[in-house]
């Protein structure tokens, strides 16, 4: 190359577009059981190699192998399976409800169910999740009331958020689920602040921060990692790398030839890269990170490698920017299928029970939606009244809002 050659702007591209076949070799994979389990007081530098590998527990045959395969309670694994099936049924039904114009909008987490659910089961009541819009599994694993969640999606008269919020932007303090914002990554640094507060008060609670691969490019991601490291905040910094930010491949977010886990190491935060479709790995790593946080050992960053199997949202058509069969070809498979294989192998589950459970949730979700619809749906007369629009802007309604409410005749 001569010194006088002209410069060239590099714009990353996914390996395949519609009609082509994705080459998933860009994902650095490790065999199940191959990655070490470091001590709780590991340093960031000691995790540098781990941030480039992939913690996996379940092998291709559904066996739990390696140092991260730990004594996980049978009932917990069954609970996880139930929550994953329920979440998938919930998503599927609400996508249909959006097509039926009962709601304006919906976002599913198809293929990512193991991550939010596995971590939730590893945390305690009182810990606070700062989720994005794709961690509905947290609420379902926590047993949040389905009908009420649906009322929020339908923005109906029983909507707990009184019709103020776009569908799926839930808020459930009692379930440790922080109010969702449309502004990406803002919650990441807030989670760190919450964790700092817990430390300031000498509490025992920890925070879980959630962000997607695309949103790591926001400035708040950098601020969160800096603050978490500086103050050794008791927080788990989750990066859900589902390879896509709407139409944008994760390489455009800065994922080309590197990992998001590696970023954490650079900030001085012990970081792991984990198979996000392996419930056992999700649970084990989350438990480890939670224990670190609770032991005053500080934050942990975890990149969960998964695949956004569904459209970004009900307003999105992925066939315009990626191969239609991508999810089937993704090397880490489907989290429900993989856990099923493991549970069946251990005699804890069966095909029949699986089908029965799945069908049971389909029916339960349908019943719940029917009940939610009795309180109204998008565009129906049954909706939160206009006076609700003016409440909660401030703790007490100021004079200008009283005037405006009066002007509206509400």
């Amino acid at each position: 190359m001569s010194a006088s050659s002209s410069l060239h702007l590099h714009v990353p591209e996914p390996s395949a577009r519609p009609g082509q076949t994705t080459d998933f070799s860009y994902l650095k994979l490790s065999p199940a059981g191959a990655v070490a389990k470091p001590p709780l007081d590991v340093t960031a530098a000691q995790t540098a190699a781990l941030a480039d590998q992939l913690v996996r527990v379940l092998d291709d045959d559904g066996n739990a192998v390696g140092p991260w395969a730990e004594d996980i309670d049978d009932q917990l694994l069954l609970d996880a399976m139930h929550a994953m099936l329920k979440t998938r049924a919930y998503d599927a039904r609400l996508v249909i409800a959006q097509r039926q114009k009962k709601t304006s909008f919906y976002i599913q987490c198809l293929g990512e169910e193991a991550i939010a659910i596995g971590q939730t089961l590893a945390l305690r009541d009182g810990d606070m999740h700062f989720p994005t819009y794709r961690q509905q599994g947290i609420l379902i694993a926590k047993g949040a009331p389905l009908v009420e969640m649906m009322c929020q999606v339908l923005s109906n008269a029983a909507d707990p958020l009184k019709g103020r919020q776009l569908p799926i932007m839930y808020s459930y303090k009692e379930h440790g689920f922080f109010t969702i914002s449309g502004n990406l990554t803002t919650q990441y640094i807030q989670a760190v602040g919450w964790a700092m507060a817990s430390a300031i008060k000498g509490d025992t609670k920890i925070a879980a921060a959630w962000v997607g691969d695309g949103a790591t490019a926001e400035g708040d991601f950098h601020a969160a990692l800096t603050f978490a490291h500086v103050y050794r905040a008791p927080v788990i910094l989750n990066v859900v790398n589902n390879q896509w930010a709407i139409s944008t491949f994760q390489a455009i977010a800065g994922g080309e030839n590197t990992t998001f886990a590696a970023r954490g190491v650079g900030y001085g935060i012990p970081s792991l890269r984990v198979d996000g479709n392996d419930l056992l790995a999700v649970y084990a790593v989350s438990r480890w990170a939670a224990e670190r946080a609770r032991s005053n050992l500080g934050p942990t960053l975890v990149e969960w490698v998964t695949y956004r199997a569904g459209p970004h949202s009900t307003s999105d058509d992925p066939s315009k920017y990626r191969p239609a069969d991508d999810a089937q070809r993704f090397p880490l498979g489907d989290p429900i299928e993989r856990l099923k294989q493991h549970l069946v192998k251990r005699g804890l589950w069966s095909e029949e029970r699986h089908e029965q459970t799945r069908a049971g949730y389909d029916a339960e979700i349908s019943r719940a939606l029917k009940e939610a619809e009795t309180h109204g749906a998008l565009g129906s007369e049954l909706r939160p009244g206009p006076a609700e629009m003016f409440n909660d802007v401030y703790k007490d309604m100021p004079e200008h809002l009283r005037r405006q409410r009066q002007q509206l005749g509400a």
Binding site: T179, Q190, G193
Partner: protein
């Protein structure tokens, strides 16, 4: 007034000392109050507003932060959502923009979007305003961009007594408060006469500040000078400019110090304009879409049939804040006097 004549339980304080005293009082009153920001911990702040607080309350309560305004704001919101009452400092109002998303999209809306489940009882303190040869990025008055955000309160004191009382009220308030501190007034009042010696708060009659707890209510304006001929609605440094202008011109102006910019005190403003029938709005910030535009609109809506003349605006020009042309930019007494004469001629 000499120090011996100060009322019992008060001490002469500059605005810096009174703000520090407010934080000291509130840190002592509640374990939930924490103070943090760039250089506020060990060093005590670049303006000394937090001097000694870390030594007194410890590093868990008063601490230094990385240079990240969005980080400071976002962390404060997280702490507030947990249940603390953070008082976070942004070193200059000119540098609050990186935190704007956290303030406008998050702090302001936490209560609304969660239906009161999560709240942000926090204060962002930030030094604002010009008149100090601060140039473009140490002189700005960004109050209008916060007054436009529903869900936050915007407050600006003009003297040590109000500064402490309003800051205490802001810390106690359950809504997020943008607390703008005119740095030109930190050490003494300033009436725009840059060519005259500056008087420090130590020699000013308005420097007696109670040493203990007290509060000045939010949403309540103060009548800084009673008058009959016209009303000047203003806040911050230009309160002193308006007072000087009225005295020098011999015009009996009523000067309203808003103190709380938004939500504001309708009655005090409207009652005054209905009485004087003439109004000038005065602020340092740039003119177009400045907070003055809202004040003019409100006066026009509420006092239309009382007005004898168009409402005048005396503001900074629609330019970035210059360095060498400081006194051509800053709305000093001469410009206010011109405006008063025009308003009275009509």
């Amino acid at each position: 007034m000499s120090q011996t004549e100060l009322p019992t339980g008060t001490a002469p304080m500059t605005m810096i000392q009174s703000l520090r005293s407010a934080m000291d009082v509130m840190l002592a009153r509640s374990d939930d109050v924490v103070v943090f920001g760039q250089d506020v911990g060990y060093f005590g702040g670049v303006f000394r507003c937090t001097d000694g607080l870390q030594a007194k309350y410890g590093k868990h309560r008063v601490f230094d932060a990385p240079i990240s305004e969005t980080g400071i704001a976002g962390a404060a919101i997280g702490m507030a959502a947990y249940g603390l009452r953070p008082v976070a400092e942004i070193q200059f109002a000119d540098y609050i923009y990186p935190a704007y998303d956290q303030i406008a999209s998050e702090a302001a809306r936490l209560r609304y979007r969660s239906r009161g489940m999560f709240t942000a009882p926090l204060v962002f303190r930030t030094p604002c305003g010009g008149g100090i040869y601060g140039g473009q990025t140490h002189s700005q008055s960004p109050e209008a961009i916060f007054a436009h955000v529903c869900g936050v309160r915007t407050v600006m004191p003009s003297n040590p007594y109000d500064a402490k009382g309003l800051l205490i009220s802001s810390i106690e308030n359950d809504d997020p408060v943008i607390f703008l501190e005119p740095k030109r007034l930190y050490n003494g009042p300033f009436d725009g006469h840059h060519d005259r010696p500056v008087v420090s708060w130590g020699k000013h009659p308005g420097n007696a500040v109670p040493e203990g707890y007290y509060s000045v209510p939010l949403d309540k304006a103060a009548v800084a000078r009673e008058g009959s001929q016209l009303t000047i609605v203003t806040y911050g440094t230009t309160v002193w400019v308006a007072l000087a202008a009225a005295e020098e011109a011999g015009i009996d102006a009523e000067v309203i110090d808003l103190r709380s910019l938004w939500p504001l005190d309708y009655d005090t403003v409207m009652d005054s304009v209905k009485k004087t029938r003439r109004c000038i709005v005065l602020h340092e910030a740039t003119r177009t879409c400045g907070f003055g535009a809202e004040l003019v609109a409100l006066v026009q809506e509420h006092c239309f049939y009382h007005l004898e003349a168009p409402v005048e605006r005396v503001t900074g020009w629609d330019t970035p804040y210059p360095h060498a042309q400081e006194w051509d930019y800053f709305p000093g007494p001469a410009r206010v006097i011109d405006a008063m004469r025009r308003v009275l001629e009509d």
